[in-house]
């Protein structure tokens, strides 16, 4: 793994979009390197929001997010952006691909923000596309993709930087059983390489195969 293993901790975490409606209250948990943690619970309980808080995309109303014991939730924007680019990998619920760019450009996006050599990164991107059986030309546009293909492209993008923390929001939501298996294996592979993997999911198959489950 290019990024050293990371221990991620949420300490007394609270968040509310609306002042009157708390979404998370005083939530504490620790995530160890090498484990796949499944976060489940009914819709609207803040599962995705928890993922965004842990991934430094939102600032908590109260509490702390610690990475290897260091508080990072209130770090300056540049430091948080750098951590997102270098140590985190994200798979969003709707894949969040740039519709105007090619599949390859989409996979390479985070590599650009890291300042990686894009020719080397493109080679690895093609290997990941083969591994996940995307079955598309790298020059294809996201508009030509099925939901499952888009989600696999998002996974390729997240794994390209070999992140220390992989955060995935419903990564198997649009996939058939065979593709789901492939994705679940990839999540475990990444954990085996020393990454901390946190997955928000409603998929019982994925929940069963997580090392640990948290319910919100």
């Amino acid at each position: 793994m290019t990024s050293p293993p990371a221990r991620l901790t949420a300490r007394a975490l609270s968040f509310r979009y609306d002042a009157a409606v708390p979404l998370l209250e005083d939530w504490t948990s620790a995530f160890e390197a090498g484990e796949v943690v499944g976060v489940t619970g009914p819709s609207g309980r803040g599962k995705s929001t928890l993922l965004y808080l842990l991934g430094l995309m939102l600032r908590p109303s109260h509490g702390e997010v610690l990475l290897d014991g260091e508080p990072v939730h209130a770090a300056p924007d540049r430091a948080r952006a750098r951590l997102r680019a270098h140590r985190f990998g994200f798979v969003f619920q709707d894949a969040a691909l740039d519709q105007s760019r090619t599949v390859l450009d989409n996979i390479l996006e985070a590599a650009l923000y890291r300042g990686d050599d894009l020719a080397t990164a493109a080679q690895r991107a093609r290997e990941l596309m083969d591994r996940f059986g995307v079955g598309l030309r790298p020059t294809a546009r996201p508009g030509q993709l099925s939901g499952g293909q888009a989600q696999r492209i998002a996974l390729c993008r997240a794994l390209l930087g070999d992140p220390a923390v992989l955060l995935a929001d419903e990564p198997t939501g649009n996939l058939d059983a065979e593709s789901s298996d492939l994705v679940i294996e990839a999540l475990h592979d990444q954990a085996a390489r020393g990454a901390t993997v946190i997955v928000v999911t409603h998929d019982p198959t994925l929940v069963e195969r997580c090392d640990r489950q948290l319910t919100l």
């Binding site: 939102l58 924007d77 540049r78 952006a81 270098h86 740039d98 985070a110 650009l112 923000y113 300042g115």
Partner: protein
């Protein structure tokens, strides 16, 4: 230990900005058209005014706006020592003195038309096309009008004067505007004589560096004349032309500036509003970029470079179209510096207009932007 890059290099940012611009052809084309339109609107309105102003000023200038002519009768006491005194005076672009005129004829046609030849004294006659160092006293230089009058088809030949004095025509002169009143011009350049060989002048021509310097330079020359008989010396200036020139430049200039500012204000605000809309439409794009690790600064840089690329292209196209239209309608072109200035200002307006939405887009929490439907 391998150093970890803190972000993309400048070439990577440029390539990404270019790729982003090409990947969104509709919005890119809209931006490009807005900047080209802004540039064209300014050049076809105030640019046309500036071009006309330049043409009028240039016409006035060609009439010798900056020249001062001192005429001295015989015995007035004006001599070549005045030329040495002029060397110390600031604000002068050119000066030259002329001795009394005497008639000469083409030696090949003794009965032909006479032309007045003048000994010409001064440090530099290159404006008239006289080669440097051609001041031997015996060589004469003639304008095409003088050559025609003398019956010479080429600038070769001998000239003879009434007193038997002879000159060799060594070349022709391109009469500058400030010596046009001496046509048909025939001169024998002499340089500036030594102090012990001062020679009487009948005419002194001085060209000020700028039209507004004509009056003070004329005053200074009048004070320096030290003529034996001031009543025999007259100083003629183009002060009225200089005033007219200043009025034309001032009134048309301020009108052109006001027009430029007004059109830039209107088209700039329109461009800014459209760019703001374009950026706001792409909020989700910036949210995704931020979520994946792009810093606020990088988002702003990418957007500004993208706008810069499109604005430069738009300004170039707008300038080309304007030049073409002005050329087809036979209108005078504004000066090159004006064309460049308008292009640069158009690009600056576009980049500044995209700065505010870029900052707004970069400041939001990534996920708030990413969740925009």
């Amino acid at each position: 230990m391998t150093a970890v890059r803190s972000g993309p290099s400048r070439p990577q940012i440029f390539r990404e900005a270019l790729a982003s611009a090409l990947a969104a052809p509709v919005t890119s084309l809209l931006t490009l058209i807005m900047v080209a339109g802004m540039c064209t609107a300014v050049l076809l309105t105030s640019g046309r005014t500036v071009g006309a102003e330049q043409a009028v000023v240039s016409s006035i200038d060609s009439a010798g706006t900056r020249s001062i002519v001192v005429r001295a009768e015989v015995g007035a006491g004006l001599d070549t020592s005045m030329l040495r005194r002029l060397e110390t005076l600031d604000g002068i672009a050119w000066y030259g003195g002329f001795g009394p005129a005497s008639d000469v004829w083409n030696a090949a046609f003794p009965g032909g038309n006479p032309v007045a030849i003048r000994m010409a004294y001064g440090p530099d006659w290159s404006d008239a096309g006289v080669p440097a160092g051609a001041t031997d006293g015996g060589s004469a230089y003639a304008s095409p009008e003088a050559l025609a009058e003398l019956g010479m088809s080429h600038a070769f030949g001998r000239l003879t004067g009434a007193g038997g004095q002879g000159f060799t025509v060594a070349g022709h002169v391109d009469t500058p505007a400030h010596l046009d009143f001496l046509q048909p011009l025939l001169i024998a350049p002499q340089g500036i004589p030594d102090r012990d060989r001062e020679t009487e002048l009948s005419l002194l021509v001085v060209v000020a560096e700028r039209p507004d310097l004509v009056a003070p330079v004329a005053d200074a020359i009048t004070a320096m004349l030290a003529a034996d008989d001031p009543g025999k010396v007259t100083v003629e200036t183009s002060e009225e032309l200089a005033t007219l020139r200043a009025m034309v430049e001032g009134q048309l200039g301020s009108f052109g500036q006001a027009l430029t500012a007004g059109i830039f204000g209107i088209t700039g605000a329109l461009t800014a509003a459209i760019l703001y809309g374009i950026v706001m439409m792409r909020r989700k794009d910036y949210g995704r970029r931020r979520a994946l690790g792009a810093s606020q600064r990088l988002i702003v840089s990418l957007l500004l470079v993208q706008t810069l690329i499109l604005a430069l292209t738009g300004a170039f196209l707008g300038t080309c179209v304007s030049i073409l239209v002005l050329g087809l309608s036979s209108d005078p072109l504004p000066p090159t510096t004006y064309l460049f200035s308008v292009g640069i200002l158009s690009v600056a307006v576009a980049v500044l207009a995209s700065l505010i939405p870029a900052i707004v887009a970069s400041r939001r929490e990534p996920i708030a932007e990413l969740r925009v439907p």
